[in-house]
Protein backbone atom coordinates (compact mmCIF):
# COMPACT_ATOMS: atom_id res chain seq x y z
CA UNK A 1 0.00 0.00 0.00
CA UNK A 2 2.80 2.37 1.00
CA UNK A 3 4.66 1.45 -2.17
CA UNK A 4 1.61 2.24 -4.27
CA UNK A 5 1.22 5.60 -2.54
CA UNK A 6 4.87 6.39 -3.07
CA UNK A 7 4.57 5.49 -6.76
CA UNK A 8 1.49 7.66 -7.11
CA UNK A 9 3.22 10.57 -5.39
CA UNK A 10 6.26 10.12 -7.61
CA UNK A 11 4.05 10.13 -10.69
CA UNK A 12 2.37 13.33 -9.54
CA UNK A 13 5.75 15.01 -8.97
CA UNK A 14 6.92 13.84 -12.39
CA UNK A 15 3.82 15.26 -14.05
CA UNK A 16 4.31 18.56 -12.27
CA UNK A 17 7.97 18.68 -13.24
CA UNK A 18 7.22 18.08 -16.89
CA UNK A 19 4.60 20.80 -16.75
CA UNK A 20 6.98 23.17 -15.04
CA UNK A 21 9.76 22.67 -17.54
CA UNK A 22 7.72 23.17 -20.68
CA UNK A 23 6.77 26.78 -21.38
CA UNK A 24 3.31 27.71 -22.64
CA UNK A 25 3.13 28.66 -26.29
CA UNK A 26 0.64 30.30 -28.59
CA UNK A 27 -2.36 28.17 -29.33
CA UNK A 28 -4.40 27.83 -32.50
CA UNK A 29 -7.56 26.57 -30.83
CA UNK A 30 -7.82 29.07 -28.01
CA UNK A 31 -7.89 32.78 -28.72
CA UNK A 32 -7.28 33.25 -25.02
CA UNK A 33 -6.75 30.98 -22.02
CA UNK A 34 -6.18 32.74 -18.73
CA UNK A 35 -5.96 31.85 -15.07
CA UNK A 36 -6.20 34.67 -12.58
CA UNK A 37 -5.39 34.15 -8.91
CA UNK A 38 -6.48 36.81 -6.45
CA UNK A 39 -5.07 37.61 -3.04
CA UNK A 40 -8.13 35.97 -1.46
CA UNK A 41 -7.41 32.66 -3.19
CA UNK A 42 -10.17 33.07 -5.76
CA UNK A 43 -9.04 31.51 -9.00
CA UNK A 44 -10.74 32.45 -12.25
CA UNK A 45 -10.32 30.22 -15.28
CA UNK A 46 -11.33 31.70 -18.59
CA UNK A 47 -10.87 30.65 -22.17
CA UNK A 48 -12.30 31.51 -25.55
CA UNK A 49 -11.93 29.51 -28.74
CA UNK A 50 -11.81 30.47 -32.40
CA UNK A 51 -14.33 27.80 -33.35
CA UNK A 52 -17.36 26.32 -31.67
CA UNK A 53 -16.58 23.41 -29.35
CA UNK A 54 -18.75 20.66 -27.94
CA UNK A 55 -16.86 20.40 -24.70
CA UNK A 56 -14.55 22.89 -23.01
CA UNK A 57 -13.28 22.06 -19.53
CA UNK A 58 -10.41 22.14 -17.08
CA UNK A 59 -8.91 18.69 -16.68
CA UNK A 60 -6.16 19.24 -14.09
CA UNK A 61 -5.19 21.94 -11.63
CA UNK A 62 -1.90 22.08 -9.72
CA UNK A 63 -0.68 24.41 -7.03
CA UNK A 64 2.86 25.77 -7.23
CA UNK A 65 4.83 27.47 -4.47
CA UNK A 66 7.94 29.55 -4.95
CA UNK A 67 10.76 28.26 -2.80
CA UNK A 68 14.23 29.79 -2.98
CA UNK A 69 13.27 31.46 -6.24
CA UNK A 70 12.07 28.24 -7.84
CA UNK A 71 8.47 27.26 -8.53
CA UNK A 72 7.69 23.84 -7.04
CA UNK A 73 4.56 21.81 -7.48
CA UNK A 74 2.94 21.37 -4.09
CA UNK A 75 -0.18 19.37 -4.82
CA UNK A 76 -3.06 18.90 -7.20
CA UNK A 77 -6.17 20.98 -6.59
CA UNK A 78 -9.83 20.17 -7.15
CA UNK A 79 -10.70 21.25 -10.65
CA UNK A 80 -13.90 23.08 -11.60
CA UNK A 81 -16.30 20.37 -12.71
CA UNK A 82 -18.16 22.83 -14.88
CA UNK A 83 -18.11 21.95 -18.59
CA UNK A 84 -19.15 24.41 -21.28
CA UNK A 85 -19.91 24.18 -24.96
CA UNK A 86 -19.64 26.86 -27.59
CA UNK A 87 -16.85 29.43 -27.64
CA UNK A 88 -16.41 30.38 -24.00
CA UNK A 89 -15.27 28.77 -20.79
CA UNK A 90 -15.45 30.61 -17.48
CA UNK A 91 -15.18 29.08 -14.05
CA UNK A 92 -14.32 30.30 -10.59
CA UNK A 93 -12.92 28.30 -7.68
CA UNK A 94 -11.64 29.30 -4.28
CA UNK A 95 -8.34 27.75 -3.25
CA UNK A 96 -7.71 29.99 -0.26
CA UNK A 97 -7.65 27.02 2.11
CA UNK A 98 -4.70 25.52 0.26
CA UNK A 99 -2.43 28.53 0.63
CA UNK A 100 -0.02 28.95 3.53
CA UNK A 101 2.58 31.70 3.74
CA UNK A 102 4.58 32.40 0.62
CA UNK A 103 4.09 32.99 -3.06
CA UNK A 104 1.76 30.71 -4.98
CA UNK A 105 0.49 30.23 -8.49
CA UNK A 106 -1.87 27.79 -10.17
CA UNK A 107 -1.35 25.72 -13.28
CA UNK A 108 -4.31 24.27 -15.15
CA UNK A 109 -4.95 22.31 -18.30
CA UNK A 110 -7.64 23.70 -20.59
CA UNK A 111 -9.24 21.08 -22.81
CA UNK A 112 -11.41 21.87 -25.83
CA UNK A 113 -12.72 18.77 -27.61
CA UNK A 114 -9.53 16.94 -26.72
CA UNK A 115 -7.14 19.74 -27.60
CA UNK A 116 -5.13 20.63 -24.52
CA UNK A 117 -3.28 23.76 -23.45
CA UNK A 118 -1.92 24.40 -19.99
CA UNK A 119 -1.47 27.83 -18.53
CA UNK A 120 -0.21 29.43 -15.33
CA UNK A 121 -1.85 32.04 -13.18
CA UNK A 122 -0.09 35.10 -11.88
CA UNK A 123 1.92 34.55 -8.72
CA UNK A 124 0.40 35.88 -5.51
CA UNK A 125 1.97 36.44 -2.08
CA UNK A 126 -0.07 35.00 0.77
Amino acid sequence: MKKAMALLLGFCVLLCSVGALAEPRADLVFTSATISLSSSGTCTFRATTYDEKNRIEITTVYLFKKTNGVWECICSLPRPTYVSSGFIYNAVMNYGDYMGDGMYRVQAMFNADGHEAYRYSNGVDF
Partner: protein, 281 residues
Protein backbone atom coordinates in the same frame (compact mmCIF):
# COMPACT_ATOMS: atom_id res chain seq x y z
CA UNK B 1 -55.63 10.99 -8.16
CA UNK B 2 -52.30 12.62 -7.40
CA UNK B 3 -52.92 15.94 -5.66
CA UNK B 4 -49.41 16.75 -4.49
CA UNK B 5 -47.94 20.01 -5.77
CA UNK B 6 -44.56 20.35 -7.44
CA UNK B 7 -42.78 21.27 -4.22
CA UNK B 8 -44.37 18.45 -2.26
CA UNK B 9 -43.46 16.05 -5.05
CA UNK B 10 -39.79 17.04 -4.81
CA UNK B 11 -39.74 16.89 -1.03
CA UNK B 12 -41.44 13.50 -1.04
CA UNK B 13 -39.04 12.20 -3.66
CA UNK B 14 -36.12 13.30 -1.47
CA UNK B 15 -37.68 11.74 1.62
CA UNK B 16 -38.19 8.47 -0.25
CA UNK B 17 -34.58 8.58 -1.41
CA UNK B 18 -35.63 8.54 -5.04
CA UNK B 19 -33.59 11.56 -6.14
CA UNK B 20 -30.18 12.96 -5.29
CA UNK B 21 -29.46 16.37 -3.80
CA UNK B 22 -28.33 17.75 -7.13
CA UNK B 23 -31.45 16.43 -8.84
CA UNK B 24 -33.60 18.02 -6.13
CA UNK B 25 -31.82 21.31 -6.70
CA UNK B 26 -32.34 21.02 -10.43
CA UNK B 27 -36.06 20.31 -10.00
CA UNK B 28 -36.51 23.17 -7.56
CA UNK B 29 -34.79 25.49 -9.97
CA UNK B 30 -37.05 24.25 -12.75
CA UNK B 31 -40.16 24.99 -10.67
CA UNK B 32 -38.88 28.51 -9.95
CA UNK B 33 -38.05 29.09 -13.59
CA UNK B 34 -41.42 27.77 -14.66
CA UNK B 35 -43.26 30.09 -12.29
CA UNK B 36 -41.23 33.18 -13.08
CA UNK B 37 -40.91 32.73 -16.80
CA UNK B 38 -44.49 31.85 -17.69
CA UNK B 39 -46.80 34.01 -19.81
CA UNK B 40 -47.94 37.31 -18.38
CA UNK B 41 -51.53 36.15 -18.08
CA UNK B 42 -50.37 33.50 -15.66
CA UNK B 43 -49.50 35.08 -12.34
CA UNK B 44 -46.48 33.54 -10.67
CA UNK B 45 -47.19 31.66 -7.45
CA UNK B 46 -44.97 33.80 -5.24
CA UNK B 47 -45.51 31.60 -2.19
CA UNK B 48 -44.40 28.55 -4.12
CA UNK B 49 -41.39 30.42 -5.51
CA UNK B 50 -40.39 31.62 -2.04
CA UNK B 51 -40.69 28.12 -0.60
CA UNK B 52 -38.63 26.69 -3.44
CA UNK B 53 -35.96 29.36 -3.03
CA UNK B 54 -35.83 28.73 0.69
CA UNK B 55 -35.44 24.98 0.19
CA UNK B 56 -32.90 25.49 -2.58
CA UNK B 57 -30.89 27.73 -0.30
CA UNK B 58 -31.02 25.14 2.49
CA UNK B 59 -29.79 22.45 0.10
CA UNK B 60 -26.99 24.61 -1.30
CA UNK B 61 -25.74 25.61 2.15
CA UNK B 62 -26.40 22.21 3.72
CA UNK B 63 -28.70 23.98 6.12
CA UNK B 64 -25.80 25.81 7.74
CA UNK B 65 -26.95 29.29 6.83
CA UNK B 66 -30.57 30.19 7.59
CA UNK B 67 -32.62 31.52 4.72
CA UNK B 68 -33.72 35.10 5.31
CA UNK B 69 -35.97 36.62 2.70
CA UNK B 70 -34.85 40.18 3.37
CA UNK B 71 -34.93 40.99 -0.32
CA UNK B 72 -38.65 40.40 -0.84
CA UNK B 73 -39.34 44.09 -1.18
CA UNK B 74 -36.66 44.41 -3.78
CA UNK B 75 -37.94 41.35 -5.57
CA UNK B 76 -41.37 42.91 -5.86
CA UNK B 77 -39.89 46.05 -7.36
CA UNK B 78 -37.87 44.00 -9.74
CA UNK B 79 -40.80 41.82 -10.74
CA UNK B 80 -42.93 44.87 -11.41
CA UNK B 81 -40.26 46.24 -13.65
CA UNK B 82 -39.82 42.95 -15.40
CA UNK B 83 -43.52 42.54 -15.97
CA UNK B 84 -43.89 46.10 -17.22
CA UNK B 85 -41.14 45.43 -19.68
CA UNK B 86 -42.67 42.13 -20.71
CA UNK B 87 -45.89 43.86 -21.62
CA UNK B 88 -43.98 45.93 -24.08
CA UNK B 89 -42.46 43.04 -25.83
CA UNK B 90 -42.60 39.28 -25.67
CA UNK B 91 -39.23 38.05 -24.51
CA UNK B 92 -37.32 35.01 -25.64
CA UNK B 93 -37.21 32.00 -23.27
CA UNK B 94 -33.49 32.56 -22.75
CA UNK B 95 -34.07 36.09 -21.55
CA UNK B 96 -36.86 35.03 -19.22
CA UNK B 97 -34.55 32.42 -17.77
CA UNK B 98 -31.86 35.01 -17.16
CA UNK B 99 -34.35 37.33 -15.52
CA UNK B 100 -35.53 34.48 -13.33
CA UNK B 101 -31.94 33.81 -12.35
CA UNK B 102 -31.53 37.43 -11.32
CA UNK B 103 -34.71 37.24 -9.28
CA UNK B 104 -33.50 34.04 -7.68
CA UNK B 105 -30.20 35.65 -6.75
CA UNK B 106 -32.13 38.53 -5.28
CA UNK B 107 -34.15 36.07 -3.29
CA UNK B 108 -31.00 34.48 -2.00
CA UNK B 109 -29.83 37.82 -0.72
CA UNK B 110 -26.79 38.26 -2.92
CA UNK B 111 -27.80 41.74 -3.97
CA UNK B 112 -28.07 44.72 -1.70
CA UNK B 113 -30.65 47.42 -1.67
CA UNK B 114 -27.96 49.75 -2.84
CA UNK B 115 -27.66 47.64 -5.93
CA UNK B 116 -31.33 48.01 -6.76
CA UNK B 117 -31.29 51.68 -6.04
CA UNK B 118 -27.91 52.30 -7.50
CA UNK B 119 -26.86 53.81 -10.74
CA UNK B 120 -29.17 53.01 -13.56
CA UNK B 121 -29.92 54.16 -17.06
CA UNK B 122 -33.24 55.01 -18.63
CA UNK B 123 -33.85 51.42 -19.52
CA UNK B 124 -35.36 49.36 -16.74
CA UNK B 125 -33.46 46.34 -17.82
CA UNK B 126 -30.26 48.22 -17.39
CA UNK B 127 -31.34 48.81 -13.89
CA UNK B 128 -31.97 45.15 -13.29
CA UNK B 129 -28.69 43.96 -14.67
CA UNK B 130 -26.52 46.68 -13.31
CA UNK B 131 -26.27 44.67 -10.16
CA UNK B 132 -24.50 41.90 -11.94
CA UNK B 133 -21.36 43.94 -11.58
CA UNK B 134 -21.92 44.39 -7.90
CA UNK B 135 -22.46 40.81 -6.87
CA UNK B 136 -19.71 39.38 -9.04
CA UNK B 137 -17.30 38.94 -6.17
CA UNK B 138 -19.83 36.99 -4.17
CA UNK B 139 -20.34 34.18 -6.64
CA UNK B 140 -17.23 32.12 -5.99
CA UNK B 141 -17.93 31.03 -2.40
CA UNK B 142 -21.40 29.85 -3.37
CA UNK B 143 -20.44 27.99 -6.50
CA UNK B 144 -16.96 26.93 -5.52
CA UNK B 145 -17.77 23.22 -5.73
CA UNK B 146 -18.82 23.50 -9.33
CA UNK B 147 -17.07 26.55 -10.64
CA UNK B 148 -19.78 27.84 -12.94
CA UNK B 149 -20.39 31.54 -13.24
CA UNK B 150 -23.47 33.43 -14.35
CA UNK B 151 -23.75 33.39 -18.14
CA UNK B 152 -26.24 34.42 -20.76
CA UNK B 153 -26.42 34.07 -24.55
CA UNK B 154 -28.74 35.97 -26.82
CA UNK B 155 -29.13 37.15 -30.39
CA UNK B 156 -30.80 40.35 -29.21
CA UNK B 157 -28.67 43.43 -28.70
CA UNK B 158 -31.33 44.89 -26.41
CA UNK B 159 -31.22 41.84 -24.15
CA UNK B 160 -27.44 41.86 -24.16
CA UNK B 161 -27.39 45.48 -23.07
CA UNK B 162 -29.96 44.71 -20.40
CA UNK B 163 -27.77 41.93 -19.04
CA UNK B 164 -24.66 44.07 -19.11
CA UNK B 165 -26.35 47.13 -17.75
CA UNK B 166 -24.57 49.34 -20.25
CA UNK B 167 -24.89 50.30 -23.89
CA UNK B 168 -22.67 48.13 -26.03
CA UNK B 169 -19.77 50.25 -27.29
CA UNK B 170 -19.69 48.44 -30.63
CA UNK B 171 -22.03 48.94 -33.61
CA UNK B 172 -24.55 46.37 -34.80
CA UNK B 173 -22.97 46.30 -38.24
CA UNK B 174 -19.34 46.36 -39.28
CA UNK B 175 -17.83 47.11 -42.67
CA UNK B 176 -21.36 47.49 -43.94
CA UNK B 177 -21.83 43.76 -44.35
CA UNK B 178 -21.15 42.04 -41.04
CA UNK B 179 -24.19 41.89 -38.76
CA UNK B 180 -24.07 41.14 -35.04
CA UNK B 181 -25.76 37.77 -34.61
CA UNK B 182 -24.79 36.52 -31.17
CA UNK B 183 -23.86 37.92 -27.77
CA UNK B 184 -22.34 35.64 -25.10
CA UNK B 185 -21.88 37.17 -21.68
CA UNK B 186 -20.37 36.02 -18.41
CA UNK B 187 -19.94 37.62 -15.03
CA UNK B 188 -16.49 37.14 -13.55
CA UNK B 189 -15.12 38.29 -10.20
CA UNK B 190 -13.28 41.14 -11.86
CA UNK B 191 -15.18 41.90 -15.05
CA UNK B 192 -18.29 41.39 -17.08
CA UNK B 193 -17.34 39.73 -20.31
CA UNK B 194 -19.17 39.93 -23.63
CA UNK B 195 -18.33 38.10 -26.85
CA UNK B 196 -19.99 39.67 -29.88
CA UNK B 197 -20.09 37.63 -33.06
CA UNK B 198 -20.79 39.23 -36.42
CA UNK B 199 -21.57 37.22 -39.53
CA UNK B 200 -21.63 37.77 -43.25
CA UNK B 201 -22.55 34.48 -44.85
CA UNK B 202 -19.92 32.04 -43.66
CA UNK B 203 -17.45 34.77 -42.69
CA UNK B 204 -17.18 35.93 -39.11
CA UNK B 205 -15.88 38.83 -37.10
CA UNK B 206 -15.58 38.40 -33.33
CA UNK B 207 -14.89 40.98 -30.69
CA UNK B 208 -14.43 40.37 -26.97
CA UNK B 209 -15.32 43.09 -24.50
CA UNK B 210 -14.28 43.09 -20.86
CA UNK B 211 -16.06 45.60 -18.68
CA UNK B 212 -13.59 45.69 -15.83
CA UNK B 213 -15.13 45.92 -12.38
CA UNK B 214 -12.08 45.14 -10.29
CA UNK B 215 -8.91 46.54 -11.76
CA UNK B 216 -6.78 45.03 -9.04
CA UNK B 217 -7.69 41.47 -9.96
CA UNK B 218 -8.38 41.84 -13.64
CA UNK B 219 -6.16 39.69 -15.82
CA UNK B 220 -6.52 38.48 -19.37
CA UNK B 221 -4.20 37.07 -22.01
CA UNK B 222 -4.15 36.94 -25.79
CA UNK B 223 -2.61 34.11 -27.77
CA UNK B 224 0.04 35.34 -30.17
CA UNK B 225 2.88 33.77 -32.08
CA UNK B 226 5.16 36.79 -31.86
CA UNK B 227 5.53 40.16 -30.23
CA UNK B 228 3.12 42.63 -31.77
CA UNK B 229 3.25 46.35 -32.42
CA UNK B 230 1.28 49.38 -31.36
CA UNK B 231 -0.52 51.42 -33.96
CA UNK B 232 -2.67 54.50 -33.56
CA UNK B 233 -6.20 54.22 -34.86
CA UNK B 234 -8.66 57.07 -34.47
CA UNK B 235 -6.86 58.36 -31.43
CA UNK B 236 -6.41 55.02 -29.67
CA UNK B 237 -3.20 53.11 -29.12
CA UNK B 238 -4.00 49.67 -30.48
CA UNK B 239 -1.83 46.65 -29.85
CA UNK B 240 -1.88 44.29 -32.80
CA UNK B 241 -0.27 40.96 -33.43
CA UNK B 242 -1.21 37.62 -34.87
CA UNK B 243 -1.55 34.04 -33.79
CA UNK B 244 -0.04 32.16 -36.72
CA UNK B 245 -1.69 34.37 -39.26
CA UNK B 246 -4.83 35.20 -37.31
CA UNK B 247 -4.64 38.92 -36.63
CA UNK B 248 -6.02 40.49 -33.51
CA UNK B 249 -6.29 44.02 -32.14
CA UNK B 250 -6.42 45.03 -28.49
CA UNK B 251 -7.11 48.43 -26.98
CA UNK B 252 -8.70 49.93 -23.92
CA UNK B 253 -11.15 52.73 -23.33
CA UNK B 254 -11.83 53.68 -19.71
CA UNK B 255 -12.83 50.39 -18.04
CA UNK B 256 -13.47 48.48 -21.26
CA UNK B 257 -10.92 46.16 -22.83
CA UNK B 258 -11.52 45.50 -26.52
CA UNK B 259 -10.14 42.40 -28.19
CA UNK B 260 -10.95 42.18 -31.87
CA UNK B 261 -9.85 38.57 -32.23
CA UNK B 262 -11.40 37.23 -35.44
CA UNK B 263 -11.09 39.39 -38.55
CA UNK B 264 -10.92 38.68 -42.27
CA UNK B 265 -7.45 40.25 -42.53
CA UNK B 266 -5.13 42.90 -41.12
CA UNK B 267 -6.45 45.81 -43.19
CA UNK B 268 -10.06 44.90 -42.51
CA UNK B 269 -9.16 44.67 -38.82
CA UNK B 270 -7.83 48.21 -38.84
CA UNK B 271 -10.97 49.39 -40.60
CA UNK B 272 -13.14 47.71 -37.98
CA UNK B 273 -11.17 49.27 -35.12
CA UNK B 274 -11.64 52.61 -36.83
CA UNK B 275 -15.39 52.03 -37.15
CA UNK B 276 -15.72 51.07 -33.52
CA UNK B 277 -13.70 54.07 -32.41
CA UNK B 278 -15.82 56.39 -34.58
CA UNK B 279 -18.94 54.74 -33.20
CA UNK B 280 -17.86 55.73 -29.70
CA UNK B 281 -17.38 59.36 -30.58
Amino acid sequence: MNTEGPLEAIVNAVMRGEISKSEAERRLQAVIDEELSGPLEKKADRLLVDKCQSLLWTLKTNGQIPYVDHASENKQKLLQKLEAKKREKQRSPAFRLAAAAVVLLLGLGFFSVQWLQGESGNDQQQYILYGSEVFAGRIPPVMADFGEVSQFTTASREEAEAFLGVKLPVPSRLLGEYTAVQYDMSILPYSTFCRVQYACGEDRVVIHLDFVTNFEEFRTTFEQSREGTEVEVAGARVYTSDNRGRHFFVWTEENVVYDLCVVPGYEEGLQIVNEIRRNEE
